[in-house]
């Protein structure tokens, strides 16, 4: 429905709710901040050197010396977890940026295309891209470029861009059809100015929510790729490969599989909550309108 051209009462509701921080936002923010803090601290300090096999306690249980135990070579798992967090954030931020830049650019171009054929072929292209699953995209990219962090970012980002661009096109088209945009065009405002002054400020809450979800998906995707051996190659520690290595010794050292798994669940849930929270915070009406 219309929605974005709110009259007086709606604006007031918007103003008052903007200050109300909701619980999803707090939970999501807290979960993401904890893991982000761990990732940042790992640049300054880790309990051990990541390749340090220590006293050689293999598959050691969690203890005061090794908080989450050791792996089959005796390396400290918490150190790997911390460095893995770094990688998770690099991939999440990188692929979200790729998805955002490609998705928003193409979405805006499609929405402001002058001819219907351009718009429709863009739309159509996104639809095929959306049908193209992330994992297959990743496999294609890895076949061509080899397994690396940049391949993972590229594949996950391109996959994510399809959904971003579709959302961007749909919501931008709606804004472009409103009376105030028509008025702005009548006043002689240039196209870029309309996009930056009217369209983007109105659609960015939706895009922000979607990009948060892309970040959550990117972390899951990176873990899957690393688990399949298609992610960042060793010695780069990653949660997915920690799980792969732990699988063989899950009977003797279950903590090796449990801890990285729970970490992934925590951060992904964190991003999901954050998305929900942002959605509620920025525009309470959006839920009803969509």
């Amino acid at each position: 429905m219309s929605g974005t051209t709110g009259g007086r009462p709606k604006e007031q509701a918007y103003e008052s709710s903007r200050l109300r921080v909701n619980s999803s936002l707090i939970i999501g923010g807290a979960l993401v901040s904890i893991i982000l803090a761990i990732a940042l601290v790992s640049f300054l300090w880790t309990p051990y050197d990541p390749s340090d096999t220590g006293e050689g306690i293999r598959l050691g249980a969690p203890s005061t010396a090794h908080w989450t135990g050791t792996d089959k070579l005796g390396r400290d798992l918490f150190t790997q977890l911390m460095i893995g967090a770094r990688l998770a954030f690099v991939v999440a931020i990188g692929s979200t940026a790729v998805a955002g830049i490609i998705g928003i650019t193409l979405g805006l171009l499609a929405a402001s295309a002058k001819t219907r054929i351009v718009d429709e072929s863009f739309t159509y292209f996104f639809d095929v891209l959306i049908a193209f699953p992330t994992i297959l995209m990743a496999m294609l990219v890895v076949t061509i470029r080899g397994a690396s962090i940049s391949s993972a970012i590229l594949a996950i980002g391109i996959s994510g861009s399809a959904i971003v661009s579709r959302l961007c096109r749909i919501s931008a088209t709606r804004i472009l059809g409103t009376d105030y945009v028509k008025a702005a065009i009548a006043c002689g405002t240039s196209r870029p100015a309309i996009v930056f002054r009217h369209v983007l400020p109105n659609i960015y809450p939706l895009l922000l929510v979607q990009l948060t979800l892309v970040a959550a998906g990117a972390i899951l995707a990176e873990a899957s790729l690393a688990y399949l051996g298609l992610g960042a190659p060793p010695p780069q520690a990653s949660w997915g490969r920690m799980l792969l290595e732990a699988q063989g010794s899950v009977m003797r050292a279950p903590w090796g599989a449990i801890v990285p798994g729970l970490t992934i669940v925590t951060i992904v849930m964190g991003f999901n909550f954050l998305g929900d929270g942002i959605r509620e915070l920025l525009d309470p009406e959006m839920r009803k309108d969509e």
């Binding site: 159509y124 959306i130 193209f132 496999m139 076949t143 996950i156 959550a216 995707a221 899957s224 997915g240």
Partner: protein, 344 residues
């Protein structure tokens, strides 16, 4: 309706062509000559040329592309660079494992999700509804392969009921052994799929429950239950078709990841080894087949939706009714963001 079907089929063909050419030409950007490595180190230039001719790589790219497409129509999927055997036969053997795996996962997930999704919607303010929603929202954040590892630990090692992985070498010759080795993978995929599915179903049902026509039916004397059956089910069916079609694709993609957790020799394992060995024909065939499957399921869903709801028939060609929660989702399993965050 017939006009719609023709247009929709044209769209499917176009999508398939677009996807296949993207896959084909992207993979050709890889440097290197397959004939060189296949013919071996001591091959004479003539032998290398002969291998090229056999592979068809001596022809221009666009001819190779049309040969590949044309070949697929009569079951010629090319020859694997690695095994030097026809890819089609191998895909057939692998599908005999992957299809049962993903279809049973799909059925199990559906059986779990429908009752739970409906409970979560109808009892949304009671503890049971809130509980179901909370557990399913946690489920969408779980990596599918991790569930597999945990299930292996619990039900193959700690309590050895099922094998930890692998598949009988003689395939389905011993059906009982084959089924036993597929139980854990199927349950793994179904658990992860259900959490998404429950959220979609809940949101689709919630949309329906708030509709005016249910209230009207009540005012006409229908009981709440009768109103839901008479008017609710058919209206809910339209978005549910979209959900089910999406989940059918998801179950196949889930199988691709999960086969590698349980060392099951299916299509996913074949694709992964193709990627690692840069076996182009294998990668391009499987990637295209899975993409085509996804596109085809979407095509069927569009047709079925229009059979159920004639109002859609006049609409735009690729208009599909999806519940709110789905419109911003990314269809991919294992690699999925947050599928099924419902908005209610």
């Amino acid at each position: 309706m017939r006009r719609y079907m023709i247009r929709r089929m044209a769209l499917l063909t176009l999508s398939a062509l677009l996807a296949s050419s993207a896959v084909f030409f992207l993979l050709r950007t890889l440097p290197g000559d397959a004939a060189l490595s296949m013919a071996g180190l001591e091959a004479t230039p003539e032998q290398i040329q002969a291998t090229r001719q056999q592979l068809g790589t001596d022809k221009p790219l666009w001819i190779q592309y049309f040969r590949w497409i044309g070949g697929m129509f009569h079951g010629d999927f090319g020859i694997s660079y690695l095994s030097k055997l026809p890819v089609a036969a191998e895909i057939g053997r692998r599908l005999a494992v992957t299809l049962p795996l993903s279809l049973s996962a799909f059925c199990l997930a559906t059986l779990i999700s429908f009752p739970l999704g409906i409970i979560a919607a109808v009892r949304r303010k009671r503890p049971v509804g809130i509980g179901v929603s909370a557990v399913s929202s946690m489920g969408v954040a779980v990596p599918v392969f991790w569930v597999g590892i945990i299930l292996i630990w619990l039900f193959a090692l700690a309590v050895p009921i099922f094998p930890a992985g692998g598949f009988p070498l003689d395939g389905w010759a011993d059906p009982w052994a084959a089924v036993r080795s597929l139980v854990l993978p199927v349950v793994t995929i179904a658990i992860v799929m259900s959490s998404t599915l429950i959220r979609y179903i809940r949101s689709a049902i919630l949309d329906i429950l708030g509709q005016d026509y249910l209230r009207t039916a009540r005012s006409l004397g229908y009981s709440a239950r009768a109103a839901r059956w008479r008017h609710g089910v058919r209206n809910a069916a339209v978005p549910l078709v979209a959900i089910m079609s999406f989940e059918l694709s998801t179950s196949l993609l889930g199988a691709v990841v999960i086969e590698n957790v349980f060392a099951i020799p299916g299509l996913g394992a074949m694709l992964l080894s193709g990627v690692i060995n840069r076996d182009l024909p294998v990668v391009q065939d499987i990637v295209f087949l899975i993409t085509f499957f996804v596109l085809f399921i979407g095509f069927l869903a569009d047709i079925v939706q229009r059979i159920i709801d004639p109002r859609l028939r006049g609409g735009s060609i690729d208009q599909r009714v999806v519940p709110d929660a789905m419109s911003e989702e990314e269809p991919s399993m294992g690699l999925r963001a947050e599928s099924g965050r419902s908005k209610s």
